[in-house]
């Protein structure tokens, strides 16, 4: 067992973990932050997307121990109390959900993208989200929601 210290959604956390634990398993199973899904488990579908120090990453193919001392943000840490983030609001306003499984990953990837991109075009958004799969194929409204969020 190894000791892991990191910050998750603003909270300092210390835990003893098995070295083979992925960041996704740690967030989902150990901390109970169930918004971070494991989809493909191979870094392809993006359902496990979280931010490490502000950048989107695929938590299913990163060892939790590699997040030692880092600042992690998950979907649960996006809202400010009762006030949702602009991206979350926009997903609701645009009905950018079908089954919802890909949604946390989509929102985290979108948030990271919008943090570093001013006035994106639809093409920019589609390229930025190409690592996030929606098996309901509800891409149109997702892209619309991100475009709307970029103007907020």
């Amino acid at each position: 067992m190894e000791v892991l210290s990191l910050t998750v959604n603003g909270e300092d956390i210390e835990a003893e973990i098995h070295p083979g634990t992925t960041l996704q398993k740690f967030l989902h199973d150990t901390l109970g932050l169930t918004g971070t899904k494991e989809g493909c488990g191979e870094g392809l579908c993006g359902a496990c997307t979280v931010m490490i120090d502000g950048k989107a990453v695929k938590s299913c193919i990163i060892l939790a121990l590699q997040a030692q001392g880092k600042n992690i943000r998950t979907i649960e840490g996006l809202a400010n109390g009762e006030v949702l983030d602009a991206v979350q609001e926009s997903f609701m306003e645009n009905g950018a959900f079908q089954c919802g499984y890909c949604t946390p990953g989509m929102i985290m990837a979108s948030k990271s993208f919008l943090d570093e991109t001013q006035n994106p075009t639809e093409t920019d958004i589609r390229h930025a989200l190409s690592g996030n799969l929606c098996r309901c194929t509800g891409y149109h409204k997702i892209v619309k929601a991100v475009l709307a969020a970029s103007n907020k």
């Binding site: 992925t22 950048k55 695929k58 990163i62 060892l63 590699q66 990837a109 993208f113 190409s130 690592g131």
Partner: protein
């Protein structure tokens, strides 16, 4: 995932000492975008994992007119993609990165890790081969340099020794009148390539439009990324023209060894390779100023 002992190395020296101690039982972990995946599937089961991702002194991008572009092995794909000096001197490298996996993978994955995993479908390897990249490998006893084209020996196999760490990738300085192109053919964005072609062409200083040197490398289509020297010889020392480029494309068509799989038949891939080589060499020549 099988059990292993984890070490977060504090510097290159300590990482080398750990590798010297544990030898083939140890694996080096950088971004782990390939290795962690393989460990999850029990394709790789190291007893010791030496994590070097935190070694910021081998994460850098520097350029000077003599040494060329030096990239620390732990530089992330995303940093390479966004580097202004890379965009200016080697646009094909930045363009390649734009279509390598997804943003989230590029944020965490490293260029050194990509090369050491030696995936036959690496986008980075053929691009760097065309650019003539040379690697620095470090161990406790010193360091050695090796060309990337000699480093990758087979599918998922390199000539790195169990006690070595890849620390730097160097691309020779950009010659005047040179240009390159990287084209990836894949079914959808973020997919691995079905055929990947990189060309880098330098024009003669004295004879207008004549090719002085060219490197053509393909990825995804063979057991490992490699140069196509017969195709290069068709273009080298020739005045660039459509028939000359066609000869190079035909040479690749004849030399490549694709296998039939879910992405297409071997015959199909060979045809695609021919078209892509034609386009890639044309673009490289145009960027070098041939037309």
């Amino acid at each position: 995932m099988e059990d292993f002992k984890y070490f977060a190395a504090s510097d290159v020296k300590q990482a080398c000492a750990l590798l010297a101690q544990y030898g083939e039982e140890a694996k080096v972990l950088s971004g782990g975008q390939t290795l962690v995946n393989m460990m999850k599937q029990n394709l790789v089961m190291p007893s010791y994992l030496v994590d070097i991702k935190g070694l910021s002194d081998i994460s850098y991008i520097r350029y000077d007119g003599e040494a060329g572009l030096c990239v620390g092995s732990l530089t992330s794909h995303r940093t390479l993609e966004q580097s202004n000096i890379v965009k200016e001197k080697y646009p094909m490298l930045a363009e390649m990165e734009l279509n390598l996996a997804s943003v989230a993978v590029r944020n965490w994955g490293t260029v050194g890790g990509n090369l050491c995993s030696a995936d036959p479908a690496s986008d980075l390897a053929p691009c760097l081969m065309a650019l003539g990249a040379e690697l620095t490998l470090v161990c406790q006893d010193g360091e050695r340099m090796i060309l990337l084209e000699d480093f990758i020996v087979d599918s998922f196999e390199t000539s790195i020794k169990p006690n070595e760490i890849l620390t730097q990738i160097r691309i020779p300085a950009k010659a005047p009148k040179s240009g390159g192109s990287h084209i990836k053919f894949a079914r959808r964005a973020t997919d691995l390539g079905i055929v990947v072609v990189s060309s880098y062409l330098t024009l003669d200083d004295t004879v207008p439009g004549r090719c002085k040197d060219i490197r053509i490398a393909l990825g995804s289509i063979d057991p490992s990324p490699r140069r196509y020297k017969n195709a290069e010889d068709c273009v080298k020392c020739q005045k660039i023209s459509d028939p000359i480029i066609e000869k190079a494309a035909q040479a690749v068509f004849e030399d490549c060894q694709p296998t039939s799989d879910i992405n297409g038949s071997a015959d199909y891939k060979r045809e695609v390779a021919k078209v892509m080589v034609r386009r890639s060499v044309k673009m490289a020549a145009a960027r070098a100023g041939a037309c």
